[in-house]
């Protein structure tokens, strides 16, 4: 069976100002050859520290940033090779929930306008729009009264529900969620995580959930990928990765209390963990580790295992 979404060897770079009083740009690589796939009905969690490229990965899939190399294949169609209008039609099946709900929505718009906006772009007739709005608000557990409310009047948890409703209105198969709980309080975050679990089970959705918190990702994800500086360093089933993390960086994320050294990631070296890794060898500095399947479906990019 071919996967629902397959990202193959993806490279994304940004130009960043050199800083200070010098002119010109330097190139920052956000993704350096990322390959990941999501099966139909499966949920993938992407975990990593800030600057690991996890948000960029989602943005590349929905076309908000343009990759320099690689392919993004959704149900057999390479999104990067499709024309503009065709890609829009395909992406209708992919919902995107950006980070920070409050900043991704127009503060002057009502909940109704925000949630229905994707349908306007797709040219859905008015009668079916209203009908869809009602069913989607019910799915995310928002009362009907909020329809005409301004987005600024809602609490953070409700804003996040509106953002999820907006992503669901096109009836997607795949939902991309960027840090869905990072701006929320503990009890509100729990409500959103429970909602995501319920939606997955009732609608049979697939997720790609990005977060820096490995435990909240594991609550909704079947598989987890760990990223560091634009590279996937480990991927496997949630249970396998959390119970027996293999890569040194995954161990830092899973059990920070057991790490004594200062952890700094270095983009200049082939393996980002080279500076402090206890098992490093000469090879790690110069040659990029290839994925090794240590257990079934559990891959790690580390020379120590090959």
């Amino acid at each position: 069976m071919s996967p629902l979404l397959a990202v193959e060897d993806l490279y994304v770079a940004f130009r960043a100002p050199r800083g200070g009083l010098t002119l010109g740009y330097r190139v920052v690589w956000a993704l350096r050859g990322v390959s990941l796939s999501v099966e139909e009905g499966e949920s993938l969690g992407v975990v990593g520290g800030s600057g690991s490229g996890k948000s960029t990965l989602l943005k590349a899939v929905v076309g908000l940033v343009k990759p320099l190399r690689g392919s993004i294949v959704y149900r057999g169609l390479d999104l990067l090779k499709l024309g503009w209008s065709q890609r829009r039609r395909v992406l209708r099946e992919v919902g995107y929930v950006p980070q920070e709900p409050s900043q991704s929505m127009d503060p002057r718009m009502s909940v109704r306008e925000i949630v229905l906006e994707p349908l306007l772009a797709l040219g859905v007739p008015k009668e079916s729009r209203e009908h869809l709005l009602g069913s989607v608000l019910e799915l995310v557990d928002l009362p009907n009264e909020v329809r005409e409310r301004n987005i600024r009047e809602l609490s953070g948890g409700m804003q996040q529900r509106v953002a999820i409703a907006r992503a669901l209105i096109t009836k997607p198969r795949l939902l991309l969620l960027d840090e869905p709980t990072s701006s929320l309080d503990v009890s509100t975050a729990a409500q959103i995580l429970n909602l995501l679990r319920d939606l997955r089970d009732t609608l049979g959705l697939s997720y790609v959930v990005v977060s820096h918190d490995i435990d909240s990702v594991s609550y909704v994800a079947d598989r987890v990928a760990v990223m560091a500086l634009g590279v996937v360093v480990e991927v496997g089933s949630t249970h396998s990765v959390l119970a027996e993390p293999l890569h040194p960086y995954t161990r830092v994320l899973v059990e920070p209390e057991r790490v004594e050294e200062e952890v700094t990631l270095d983009p200049e070296v082939a393996c980002p963990a080279y500076r402090w890794c206890p098992w490093r060898g000469d090879r790690c500095a110069t040659e990029r580790p290839r994925p090794v399947e240590v257990r079934r479906g559990h891959l790690v990019m580390c020379w120590n295992y090959s």
């Binding site: 520290g49 609490s155 503990v186 429970n194 920070p256």
Partner: protein, 318 residues
């Protein structure tokens, strides 16, 4: 034991259009010298206001009541606030957003030097440099950082510089207001560990404010859970994490995703009430699964174990 921070019926309110709103309500704190104490709560519960009150950083339009003593000195007495000689000397605050608290036009060394001169009087150039190096070594930063401007540092390094700035006047009491909320999972832990190490090494009294109840385990001796401006439960960290008794604390602990546990997270219905719209009696009452008639009266503290206090009428049935 000497108490570093003691408050008796301390209330803090803000004057807004609709009148006076009490954000912190009759708070009794007793924090010993050299202790690390954690204030845990959700946004809007008043934990930052408590932190600002202790650090002497309440805005002029804030209204206070009750008593706050710092190292035996009355800093707040009714509406009077006398923090001269205390603020920035005995008690300091580590800000939530380090990027906003550093001056982008000064190097780290210049900023630290400025604070040192303000507190120690004139220093020679080499003395100042030596002290700056010492402060940076305290927060585990290399001495070269002194030459860097804030924009050249990463988020974790900026937070370390902010901690070094706070420690420059050799304070006794440090209020850390969500020092880790802007950081990712590993940095969060490493900053928490650094604060704990500094607290032990320098004998500081640390008030650690966070919404992350599990982080308290790594930093604090004691924890107070705040809900709607009041303490609902106070205990030693282990006792609280293992044997919470207040219904709110229990639900809060069950709302945090646990490693490899698949049971459903606790849904606490509704949201915390905003200041000014607190219900009468127990403030958790409208959301509480075990609330009953008696909860309409203000809960009295129940001593349920050594240093374990619960503000709930129904803790036995929760």
């Amino acid at each position: 034991m000497v108490l570093a921070v003691r408050s008796y019926e301390l209330s803090v309110g803000y004057e807004i259009d609709e009148g006076l709103v009490w954000v912190v309500d009759r708070l009794n704190l007793e924090i010993g010298a050299g202790e690390s104490y954690c204030l845990v709560g959700e946004s809007g519960c008043g934990k930052s206001t408590i932190g600002n009150a202790v650090a002497g950083l309440l805005p002029p339009y804030a209204v206070t009541d009750g008593v706050l003593e710092l190292m035996g000195v009355k800093a707040i007495e009714g509406r009077l606030r006398r923090f001269n000689g205390l603020r920035g000397r005995v008690v300091v605050r580590i800000p939530q957003d380090p990027a906003a608290s550093l001056n982008p036009f000064l190097t780290v060394g210049e900023q630290l030097g400025e604070v040192l001169r303000a507190h120690l009087g004139q220093l020679t150039e080499s003395e100042a440099r030596k002290r700056v190096g010492y402060l940076l070594s305290l927060v585990k930063l290399p001495p070269e950082v002194a030459e860097a401007y804030p924009h050249q540092l990463s988020g974790g390094m900026k937070q370390r510089v902010a901690i070094a700035l706070a420690l420059a006047p050799s304070p006794k009491v440090v209020v850390a207001d969500e020092p880790t909320s802007a950081l990712d999972a590993y940095l969060k832990f490493s900053i928490a560990r650094l604060l704990k190490a500094l607290q032990l090494a320098l004998g500081l009294t640390l008030i650690f404010i966070t919404h992350d109840i599990t982080l308290a385990r790594h930093v604090c001796d004691r924890v107070a859970v705040i809900y709607a401006g009041r303490v609902v439960e106070e205990a030693r960290t282990e006792d609280l994490l293992e044997g919470a008794l207040h219904p709110y604390t229990k639900l809060l602990l069950r709302a945090v995703p646990r490693r490899l546990a698949s049971e459903r997270l606790a849904d606490i219905p509704g949201t915390p009430p905003p200041p000014g719209r607190y219900p009468s009696g127990c403030r958790f009452r409208p959301r509480c699964p075990v609330a009953s008639e008696e909860c309409t009266r203000d809960p009295e503290p129940a001593e349920v174990g050594e240093m374990h206090r619960v503000y709930c009428w129904r803790w036995r049935s929760a």
